[in-house]
Structures are given as structure tokens and as C-alpha cells.
């Protein structure tokens, strides 16, 4: 880091200017760790190497003048707010912990522990993102690799149900299309790219083949490719009528897939959020598995948030399951649809919520939002989100990766450290969650709570 300071006796001191090298951007799952941030006082004014989304992330998470917390909409201090948060969570019969995709691994661990102590459900934004893929992993497995292997080896890349040009702007240049790698020394020229989507998005310009699949027919398309991978004959008219893609095109793509040295399917919400959901993810993962009869193929989900992959890892190593875990019986139970946040809210089952680093009031289904608005919630967020506005207790937190350090996981499960740029007067998620946990445990150990859980992971 370099530091430049200047001031004169007759002027306000200019803000300290620092450069933070190798900082980590946590806006999307690319988790680019080559950021060069110029920090003036408590603002980031330049973010070299950041994409348009990263720049927006760094430039708009400065210190806002807000109270430490709000209790029922009124300003409050952290201590009082943590007391109230513990009250709410201990009083609940079916509490839900949700979110966790934009916070550190260290904070995620404590969130799981709290949920265990209070006997609730812990679910993460995975359940409305690649949860279906998580279900599919359990069914057919995941033939996987790191993004470094994609960069250095992949010569055939299929983007399916995603628009990386807008959702992961540096993915093409940093990992999957452009970079020169150990075994792809000519970069883009050594690669064939296929985009499969219902819309001809900006990403289509980057691809050699654009396959415009009919809406809600990705499952059929994936199974058509599986059939071709396994040497089965298909009826051309049926395939084109069903999928919108000619059999001739699919056969050409399959020939290319078989000739590849290292292929990868990078898939997104176009598969998980539409008809078929986990069956779509399963079909694509199985296709990658099938292709390994011919050559090396992998399939990887494109993750949207900076540490949603961390949430999968933490919840998995803590409970044995990746998301949607019920801890109320003193042991973990996993059943998507029964213990996932969308469902326990939409069915009106959860009676309190602890929402960390996410904004379900903006993004959940209408029935889930209607119910969430009516139950007491404890919310941790650097911004006054829709979810924070409806909370019984809303904590203002520092921003991970900008104000606080810790660990996050890139979309390929590689853990990466954060290098914060400037300090914040606000507490981190980790500090607040530890405060809530200690209050919960003090009261439980004092016998101050009816029906206390016997569980706990810390």
C-alpha cells in the first residue's frame, strides 16, 4: 500500500489517499481478487480491474449516516437491539434464519449456530438460486473443476440458461473465453463457445453457436443431447418441434463436444428457475457425466452472489446438508419444499425470522413476502433494504470486503480472503451475530427460556 498525505495550516486536511492492492470484489460469484482500490478517506474512488457491477459495488458502499439499529423503526444502540433480537428469536416456536450470501464464512458459522441453539430452520439464498442444482448434485453427482482449470484447459464451453455478459461481466475475460491458458495458448481462437437460452442476449455475440431453445424446454434439449452422447437415434421432426433446435445443429454441437479435450457446461437460472428446476440441472449434470465416456467434461453452476458458495459450504460442514435445514429436533433434517424459506413463509409457518445479508422482501414470491411482513424479523444489512424497513430489529452493518475482512468462497468452491479498504463505525455481521448468540446462550443456560433447544455447534 502507498500513503500520500497533505495538509496546510489554512485548509481542511485532505482525506488520506491509499491504494489497496489485490482486494476482493464480492458482488458476483466470480469473486475477482485482483482489484486495485483507491481509497480517499472513507470512500473508494477508483476500482481498477472491476467490471461495471464491481465498480457500482465499491462506489456505493460508503459510510451512511444511519443509527446503529432500528427497533420498531426507532433509532437504537447495538446493545439494546441485540437484547431485543435475542428476545424475538427465543420467543419463536418456528424461527427461520435466511440469507447469508453476502456475508463472510465466519459470520455464516455463527448464524448456523444460533439457529441450532434456538431450534429453527437455516436456509440460504441458494434455495432460490441453485438450490435445484444442489438437489441435482445429490441425485447424479457433479463432475467439477476449478475456474483455473477452465481457464487453462477448456476448449469447448457451453453457457446454458445464463447471460454472463450482464450477470458476470469478467467471466469471459478472466476464466472462460478469452484468456490464454496452459493448454489453450491461443485463448479465444482455441475455444468453441455455445450459448443456449430462450433470449438472444448480449452474451450471444460472444458465442460461436447460439441455440435459442423454446421456453420451458431445456429439459427436453438436455435429454436430446444425452441421447446423442449415448449414440441413440432421434427423430428430427420431434426434436425440432419440441426444443426449437434442429437435430442437425445438435448433432454438429455434439460432434464438437466429443472432439473437445476439456469441455465445461456453465449453467444458470434459466435452468433452475423454470419448469423442471432440479430436473433441468440434473439433466445437464448427467450430460457432463455421459460425455466423460468420450472425453473430459464438467458442469458448473454460475453463482450470483459473492459468498453464496460459502453459505453452501458452511451449512454443509455444520449440518451435513447445504440449505433448507431444520434443526428443531436437535438434529439436522433436509427436505426442500418442507424446510426451505420460500415454503415456510408462503405457507405461513415461520413465526420469526433472522435475515442476514439478503433482501427477500424484494425478491421472494408474493405469498412469502406477505407473510414475512407480518412476523417479527431481525435483519442485518448495510443498506436500509425493503426487508430492513419491515423488520422489528434492523441492524446497520459494515460491508464485507469493503470494511471487514474474512473469507468467502468463489463459485468454484475456492476460498478467498477479503482485503478491506477502510474501516466502518458500524459493527460487522460477525460481531452482531456473536452478540446475539451470547445473549441467547446466557438465557438458555440460566433456564430463562421455555422449551430451549439442546443443540448447538459452537
Amino acid at each position: 500500500m502507498s500513503t500520500i498525505e497533505s495538509s496546510t495550516a489554512t485548509q481542511e486536511p485532505t482525506p488520506e489517499l491509499r491504494v489497496v492492492e489485490d482486494a476482493t470484489c464480492t458482488f458476483c460469484g466470480c469473486v475477482c481478487d485482483d482489484m486495485e482500490l483507491t481509497v480517499e478517506g472513507n470512500r473508494i474512488t477508483k476500482a481498477k480491474n472491476a467490471c461495471v457491477l464491481g465498480k457500482a459495488w465499491f462506489f456505493n458502499h460508503h459510510i451512511e449516516d444511519r443509527p446503529e439499529a432500528l427497533i420498531d423503526g426507532q433509532p437504537a444502540g447495538y446493545e439494546q437491539a441485540m437484547d431485543r433480537a435475542a428476545d424475538i428469536l427465543l420467543s419463536a416456536r418456528f424461527p427461520l434464519t435466511y440469507g447469508l450470501s453476502d456475508t463472510t464464512t465466519e459470520a455464516q458459522r455463527v448464524a448456523v449456530a444460533i439457529t441450532d441453539w434456538i431450534g429453527g430452520i437455516v436456509d440460504t439464498t441458494t434455495s432460490v438460486c441453485h438450490g435445484p442444482s444442489g438437489i441435482a448434485f445429490q441425485g447424479v453427482g457433479e463432475v467439477t473443476c476449478s475456474l483455473g482449470e477452465v481457464k487453462n484447459r477448456a476448449d469447448y464451453v457451453i453457457f446454458w440458461g445464463g447471460n454472463p455478459a450482464e450477470s458476470h461481466p469478467r467471466h469471459f475475460t478472466k476464466y472462460s473465453l478469452m484468456p490464454k491458458g496452459e493448454f489453450v495458448p491461443n485463448g479465444r481462437k482455441d475455444r468453441t463457445a455455445v450459448l443456449i437460452d430462450v433470449r438472444k442476449t448480449k452474451s450471444a455475440k460472444a458465442a460461436d453457436y447460439f441455440l435459442q431453445v423454446k421456453p420451458r424446454r431445456d429439459f427436453e434439449l438436455a435429454w436430446a443431447l444425452r441421447a446423442l452422447a449415448n449414440g441413440l437415434e432421434l427423430d428430427a421432426a420431434t426434436i425440432e418441434e419440441t426444443t426449437g433446435i434442429s437435430l442437425e445443429t445438435l448433432e454438429e454441437v455434439m460432434e464438437g463436444m466429443k472432439r473437445a479435450k476439456f469441455g465445461v457446461i456453465l449453467f444458470g437460472m434459466g435452468l433452475t428457475m423454470t419448469r423442471g428446476k432440479h430436473f433441468n440441472s440434473e439433466a445437464v449434470l448427467a450430460l457432463a457425466r455421459d460425455m466423460n465416456k468420450h472425453t473430459r467434461w464438467n458442469a458448473k453452476p454460475m453463482r450470483g452472489h459473492g459468498n453464496v458458495t460459502g453459505a453452501d459450504n458452511v451449512v454443509s460442514w455444520s449440518t451435513g446438508y447445504p440449505f433448507g435445514v431444520h434443526l428443531g429436533g436437535g438434529f439436522p433434517r433436509f427436505n426442500p419444499g418442507e424446510f426451505t424459506a420460500s415454503d415456510v413463509l408462503a405457507r405461513g409457518e415461520a413465526d420469526a425470522a433472522l435475515i442476514i445479508a439478503s433482501d427477500p422482501m424484494s425478491n421472494f414470491s408474493q405469498p412469502a413476502r406477505d407473510h414475512l411482513e407480518g412476523i417479527p424479523s431481525v435483519v442485518l444489512d448495510p443498506k436500509l433494504s425493503d426487508t430492513a424497513r419491515t423488520a422489528a430489529v434492523a441492524f446497520t452493518t459494515s460491508t464485507y470486503g469493503i470494511n471487514t475482512g474474512g473469507t468467502v468462497y468463489r463459485m468454484d468452491d475456492v476460498p478467498i480472503p477479503l482485503r478491506p479498504a477502510f474501516e466502518s463505525p458500524y459493527k460487522s455481521d460477525l460481531e452482531i451475530l456473536r452478540g446475539i448468540e451470547s445473549r441467547i446462550r446466557q438465557r438458555q443456560l440460566a433456564g430463562d427460556v421455555a422449551g430451549q433447544s439442546t443443540g448447538g455447534t459452537t
Binding site: 462506489f59 450482464e166 419444499g337 414470491s365 405469498p367 425493503d386
Partner: protein, 115 residues
């Protein structure tokens, strides 16, 4: 008169940048409140950019300005809107037992509004 369409909510760069600026900023609200319609459908329905249209299904509805999609980005019969409050209003609670509500490929009706 209402016509059946398929709605695709999704991420855009502008939705991603403006949500950092704030979900109450004009930029974010405009981005999540603009419905993209295929040029052929705009012409057929005699719509111009900025006309208000009502989109609804059995879960909810929204009324927003429409605009023509670029070139051949959207096929006829398909609509696109950035993820946000409006798209969430049309998402029902049923996840078919997998935790994920129907969030893309939604059957909806589009109605042009007078004036």
C-alpha cells in the same frame, strides 16, 4: 383485450448497478419497472415505447411502461423484465416441493391500457 405471453424475469447490468446505488433510486425503479416486448408484438398491438401495459396472472399483476426489445433479442410471445418487486408480484408460493418458486417462464396475460 388480453393476450397470453410467457414472462422471463432476469438480471440486467443496469439492474445490478442500480441496486447498489439504492433500491429507491429512480434508476433502479425504472429498470425493474420497464417491460421489454418483442418488436413484432409491439407493432401488432400498436404499442410504442412508454405505453403502459398491465401484466397479470392468477397470483398478481403490475402495470408498467413497455419498450421494444433490441433487434431479435426476444422472440414473439415472450416478455422480459428485470428481477424486482414487479416480477415478484407474479410469483406464487408453490415450489413443487423443491424450494424454488416458479420464477421464469411464467404464463401471463398482457393487456394494453387506454390512453
Amino acid at each position: 383485450m388480453a393476450e397470453a405471453f410467457i414472462l422471463i424475469p432476469g438480471r440486467t447490468s443496469r439492474q445490478g448497478t442500480t441496486l447498489n446505488e439504492g433500491k429507491y433510486t429512480d434508476g433502479y425503479i425504472e429498470e425493474i419497472s420497464t417491460l421489454q416486448v418483442a418488436p413484432e408484438d409491439m407493432q401488432r398491438l400498436q404499442l410504442v415505447d412508454g405505453d403502459l401495459v398491465r401484466v397479470y396472472n392468477d397470483v398478481g399483476e403490475f402495470t408498467v411502461p413497455c419498450k421494444s426489445a433490441r433487434g431479435d433479442e426476444l422472440p414473439p410471445g415472450m416478455l422480459f423484465i428485470s428481477y424486482g418487486d414487479n416480477s415478484s408480484r407474479l410469483m406464487g408460493g408453490d415450489t413443487q416441493g423443491c424450494g424454488m418458486p416458479d420464477s421464469k417462464g411464467l404464463d401471463v396475460f398482457l393487456e394494453t391500457t387506454p390512453g
